[in-house]
């Protein structure tokens, strides 16, 4: 815990000025002998440059923040897992913020960008970019990349999933299997994913020529227990032959209830999850699930941010990641 050596210490020991020390350590042209003396002194003292002082001078912290709702959610884990190596390879550290989906927390993170403890930010606002975000976003003192949608014309880089296409994939798959009474177990409608899945669901039904039946739709939350409750409520008043769940946790909850009710999956009810997490393959029967590309979204966001940090003033970019459908036993029978 002792105070480490500084360039001043090295300068004294090597008998040169601190400017020379700095030059040597940064590889600027210097006389051979000076280089040797400085290097020797630095080695003997075990010198490590102070990142804080360097940051103050250079205005670069080589840190990037990632703010998301909950690091326990597999979607965000997948993102972090991809973001981290990209940043690391470019010499950046990752600062993690969990906001619990609290809008004030999110705003706080944006406001704190002014402290300049990071060079940039990747943020995934659970309840979307509200008016309150907008001013902070457009005037942010550091580059920001938003994962999720952003109002038209907001000047930030943006990576989005295509919920609509994902829901359509699922419904077409179920329709192709002959299912006609396809229910939806959704999360809260005031969240970005919840709202997106709701409208995508009605649209996809329409384009398949299926009627919209409100009895087949139930709203809960993005967790297993809430998913189970929602499933129970829905089953009490309707007989779906398929259920689309807004994420894999909800699907697990639904699976619990279906099992209790002695409804066979997929014979009686076909089940589709979303996000295609490892829970989908842990479940039994394994879960057909719509992958919304969390990993890829994370990676792309990190790349966008690094680009922005390097060149700076290009036009904001919007990247849309295509969904994929992983077909498994919960719709097609064979594990």
């Amino acid at each position: 815990m002792a105070q480490g050596p500084t360039i001043t210490t090295i300068a004294a020991r090597a008998g040169v000025s601190i400017a020379s020390v700095s030059r040597v350590l940064n590889g600027l042209p210097t006389r051979e002998e000076t280089v040797r003396k400085v290097m020797a002194a630095a080695d003997e003292l075990g010198y490590v440059p102070n990142a804080v002082a360097r940051s103050l001078k250079s205005n670069r912290t080589y840190q990037v923040a990632f703010a998301m709702a909950d690091i326990g959610n597999p979607t965000y884990v997948a993102m972090v897992r991809e973001i981290q190596p990209v940043l690391k390879a470019a010499g950046y550290r990752l600062v993690l913020h969990s906001t619990d989906g609290d809008v004030d927390d999110e705003l706080d993170v944006l406001r704190r960008l002014g402290e300049r403890y990071v060079d940039g930010l990747i943020i995934s606002p659970l309840r979307g970019v509200a008016q309150r975000h907008l001013d902070l976003l457009t005037s942010a003192p550091a580059p920001v990349v938003v994962i999720g949608s952003v109002p038209e014309g907001t000047p930030v880089d943006n990576v989005r999933a295509d919920s609509r296409a994902g829901v359509r994939l699922a419904l077409e798959h179920l329709h192709g299997l002959g299912r006609r009474r396809i229910g939806l177990l959704n999360g809260p409608l005031d969240t970005v994913p919840g709202a997106a899945r709701a409208t995508a669901y009605t649209d996809a039904l329409a384009s398949l020529g299926l009627p919209y039946d409100p009895n087949l739709v139930e709203v809960g939350d993005f967790y297993r227990a809430e998913g189970a409750l929602a499933a129970r409520r829905l089953l009490e008043r309707a007989r779906p032959d398929a259920l689309l769940c807004a994420n894999d946790l909800i699907a697990l909850g639904a699976l619990d209830v279906l099992r209790e009710e002695r409804l066979r999956v997929p014979e009686d009810v076909a089940l589709v999850g979303m996000d295609d997490t490892e829970l989908a393959t842990a479940a039994w029967p394994t879960l057909t699930s719509v992958g919304l590309g969390s990993a890829e979204r994370g990676r792309r966001a990190a790349e966008l941010l690094l680009d922005r940090l390097n060149d700076g003033a290009a036009a904001p970019r919007i990247v849309t990641v295509e969904p994929t459908l992983a077909v498994r036993a919960s719709t097609e029978g064979a594990p």
Copy 2:
């Protein structure tokens, strides 16, 4: 992206010196009118103090690093999830490092502590604290808390799981159910968890009066596919009536293989996982699993570090977290 205002800007606008600005902003006693002028100027300019400059002066970054092998691993996710709020409540940020279990990466993290970009470090070395860690650990320029074991007498705070007790819990449970040919599907023996589980297994067998049969032990890696391979190898040469798996992923792999072989769980083979992750309840049958308290270990580690950051020179503490056994369908039949 404009350069933000500094205390100099504020001082100019308020017509006072930078010292007064600093005093006001830090709540030091100041004349009423000065306070008003400074506050007004700061508000109008939207001033946010520069964290880097502050750190340089105060020698405090209010950042803490957590280094672990892989953020995809549910064990570490559980830790991060607990560490984050503890740190946040105390005003610290979390810097995340994934080392991929690479010892050189771990050493690098330790070495970089000299850059003083964090005030402290929580590290969970996958392959244990080797001699090479020791010098760096004892001479670390910032407090370090190790999650996992540490050689006797190493002067660092330390939080450990009780693998031995966990394995004993599992074996006693299986023994109580009448199982006598209890196999072990382990991870690599040169990792801390792998080694601990191996010796704990032989010890527990001995204390139960069961013979040790090398045919019932197989080593793979801590992933599902490797777990499946190991299970297959073991089943080719032995007929266990129970399998203890070194983590839940391995157990899932084993479950896949048992299903293929048409062996019933738990009737033919009882199955126990470790770490008690959410995968255990996602699986079917649900998995009995030994919880090693990842969440609690994370929380305790964060608390130890904060204590150390506050008072400093107390004697190093060792905290051991007790294991728990979550009994589920894979050993007791009813889901």
